[in-house]
Amino acid sequence: MADHKILVVEDSSIMRQLLVMALRRISGVTVLEASDGLEALKTIANEDLSLVFSDVNMPGMDGLKLVRMIRSDKRACEIPIVMVTTEGAKEDRDRALALGATAYISKPVQGAEVIDTACRLLGLPAGTPWN
């Protein structure tokens, strides 16, 4: 199975750990971490990524700016981006989708929802054997 690299961009260590733990359960997936948009851009420049999960509100560079930067980068513009938002923050979610985010999941996130979303965007079958 092809190896996929997924980047999780999240300033909250709890959310980051939650997302990473869920994504690591998918076979053939390597999960990379960044705590803000700037760190994420460095990773995007150095790695061949298949998918990005990003929070919206982060110090330094927030998730919306990160989406804009990724979409304007010729090398990375095709990478699907999943935004992690709160259900009430509809404006943030709409802005992210308008800027080119592919999908969103709402807090509090469920591991199964994270895995399903990642599998769908990576083109992996729903019943992908997990580690």
Partner: protein, 275 residues
């Protein structure tokens, strides 16, 4: 007898012979036809016999096939029953899989919460981690963490989200739901979680932060995210975990910061004495 008479007699005999010959020929023709008819009958009889034999064989075959059909029907019924059993097992496995996944997700959340709570000895970081657990794992939108001042016996809001901390009164032990929870050490959960505007005097959940039986504060949740209609089993588990682990993490970080402060003071004195 004259020559003419002789000739006539010969002619007569010849005609008689011809008649006999004709009759013989006709008889032969009749015999041949009869022979043909009998042959045809024979063929028919043979055909009938063969057909009768075939019919008998066919009947035997039909009986055999009927028996096979009955066997196959029995086998089909057995297979259908087995399929039903396997489908029932599949449904059971699927349900168990969903339960295990939910359990797995709950354990992951509990692991992360525990891991993060004890990952720092900085008081502010501990409060931040508790807040993040409530936001990200429980789905709390408005909440506050009250700590008990043992000297004054009052509860003061030290951290929170969604509500300005200055709006919270200082509760004395037994006052309001937060004070009552701090005094009794028992958790409080509102019976109805409606979407009404939050009321700082009527939390949806109020959890004592306890080290054994000693209450050091309370955690009050006033509002949940809109998609969160009720507390799930994992939320109660997380509240139970927070009640114990958050309390020890807060207590340890306070002790650490106090010991650090004392150490700095003592170090300052020592520096003064040695200079």
């Amino acid at each position: 007898m004259t020559e003419k008479e002789k000739q006539s007699k010969v002619t007569q005999r010849a005609e008689d012979f011809l008649q006999v010959f004709k009759k013989g020929a006709e008889f032969t023709q009749q015999l041949l036809r009869e022979n043909e008819r009998l042959r045809f009958q024979l063929v028919q009889l043979e055909e009938q016999g063969r057909l009768a034999s075939c019919a008998e064989q066919a009947m035997r075959k039909v009986e055999s096939l009927k028996s096979q059909v009955a066997d196959l029907e029995r086998e089909k019924q057995e297979i259908l029953q087995r399929i039903d059993r396997v489908e029932a097992e599949n449904i059971d496995f699927a349900n168990r899989y969903v339960e295990i996944e939910a359990e797995n997700s709950s354990l992951a959340n509990l692991y992360i919460a525990t891991y993060q709570l004890h990952s720092t000895l900085d008081f502010r970081d501990v409060l931040k981690i508790i807040s993040e657990i409530i936001i990200n794992l429980i789905g709390g939108e408005e909440f506050a963490i009250f700590l008990l001042d043992e000297n004054s016996g009052t509860l003061q809001a030290m951290a929170g989200e969604g509500i300005d901390l200055r709006h919270f009164p200082v509760y004395s032990l037994g006052e309001g739901i937060a004070g009552g929870v701090a005094r009794s050490g028992e958790s409080f959960f509102a019976e109805v979680l409606d979407a009404a505007p939050s009321d700082i005097d009527a939390p949806l959940a109020c959890i004592p932060l306890k080290i054994k039986d000693r209450v050091i504060g309370v955690l009050a949740v006033y509002k949940l995210f809109v998609q969160k209609r009720c507390f799930d089993d994992i939320d109660y588990e997380l509240f139970t975990l927070l009640a114990g682990h958050a309390a020890t993490a807060i207590f340890a970080s306070k002790l650490y910061s106090e010991s650090e402060r004392k150490l700095t003071t003592i170090q300052g004195f020592l520096d003064l004495l040695t200079k």
